[in-house]
Amino acid sequence: MTERARQRAVITGIGLLTPLGADAAGFFDAVCAGRSGLRRPADSHPVAGILDAAGFAPDVDPATVLPPAEARRVDRFVVLAMAAADAALADAGVTVGQDADPARTAVVLANAFGGLGMFEAEALARESSGHTAVSPYLLAGMLPNMATARIAIKHGVRGYSSTISTACASGAYAVAEALRLVRDGLADVVVCGGAEAPLLPTAATTFRNSRALAGGWADPAEASRPFDRRRNGFVLGEGAGALVVERAEHAAARGRPAYAQVAGWGVATDAYHPTAPRADGSGAATAMRLALADAGLAPADVGYVNAHGTGTKRGDAAEALAIRSVFGAHTPAVSSVKGVTGHLLAAAGAVEAAATALALRHGVLPPTHNLDDPDPDCDLDHVRKAPREAAAGVALSNSFAFGGHNVSLALAHPGGPLWT
């Protein structure tokens, strides 16, 4: 049996649809400037009266990403995912079949909710109008794998494809899977990321009723405040993030620059509670240690941690504890973009991996918005109030989830030595 060389992976394309808009450069500018994407829902929106604040992704006309007859009946998460994937491939300069072998191109698009919005609408139609009101298109529009499948159909991707569903960690798991595929020589190009469209009456209500959401903020832009003493929950958002993760030599042969290297990944499971994290952050800490070990790096190499930091009391405190346990007293710079984006659930990990890659690329660390008064329980080297110029060579991007799934991605500056 021949031992294959371990291939290196780089990010060559980014496509984002977030509450901060529909382009990656504008996204990073807004994160650095602390321009919040969070709004009070319009009176006409189905979550009006349920959510005080939410992060709305840009409207995408389904007919711009799908043929007209197909566009009619797919869930919004599919549309957001397809728009993000289109943008990421365009950004990477990849036309599958021209710039990449279809059989060596893969798609791993994550989501947690699937097409809950479409399902809810069809269930209500069945209740009021009978069984003939239920569309035959429902499954083709709502199954969790349909974002992956429709991206593959549209772009002619014939290699590996799958869908990951680990709640709020899903998007980062997808990036980790992309790294494994490239590293093992199974793909040259992987479209990976996550998409979520949870701004729906029933979904929003269960988050509210479970007391997970920030409340009592007159200004929705103030509601999401990771690591702040007055934080009281997260702000629900929708969106999609797609990355093109590419074999480094493949990108180099095309003459494409990289945003960052994807150098390592680590996953650990809490095995503790369906929704609460272990208070000692041990699962999160293990994920970070494993990511560094996988990349062949030491804690001292890390200049920045893009935290999961949702703004919940227990989650942020556990993550801070985890970061301190990995890095000791001198923690790297830490920030969470959720202060301006809200929590995009399955899209979050991919969007934040993109933010981390952009931070490395530009040598600028984005601040945590609304971190006015850091909680002593979250004692870290916070980037707050303003972006910080720092040539961090290596960064971690953390994502943790309901279910106790913890993942950390190790990214490295594209100009640095190519860690394997």
Binding site: A63, P68, A69, A71, R72, T132, S135, P136, Y137, A140
Partner: protein, 88 residues
């Protein structure tokens, strides 16, 4: 009745975002015409069942998919007559 079914079918397909400009009784459902896939045939069948009180079985679907609009309308009309409006 057939003309009515043709008009109903064209309007249904329009609502389903199919290009039906210039479609008439001679237009085929298949790739040379409106190009319906299996899910679209299923939805069209549901709409017609609902409107005309007819019933299509699973075994009818492939046959429907290769009809012209006119053949389809005649088929619906014959089913409707034979059922005499009993089903709805």
């Amino acid at each position: 009745m057939s003309a009515d079914v043709v008009a109903f079918t064209i309007e249904s397909l329009r609502q389903m975002n199919f290009d039906v400009d210039g479609a008439d009784g001679g237009t085929v459902f298949g790739p040379a015409g409106v190009d319906l896939d299996s899910l679209a045939v299923a939805e069209l069948a549901l709409r017609v069942e609902d409107a005309y009180g007819v019933k299509f079985g699973e075994e009818d679907m492939e046959r429907l998919a290769i009809m012209t609009l006119g053949e389809f309308a005649a088929d619906v009309a014959s089913r409707s007559t034979s059922l005499d409006g009993a089903v709805k």
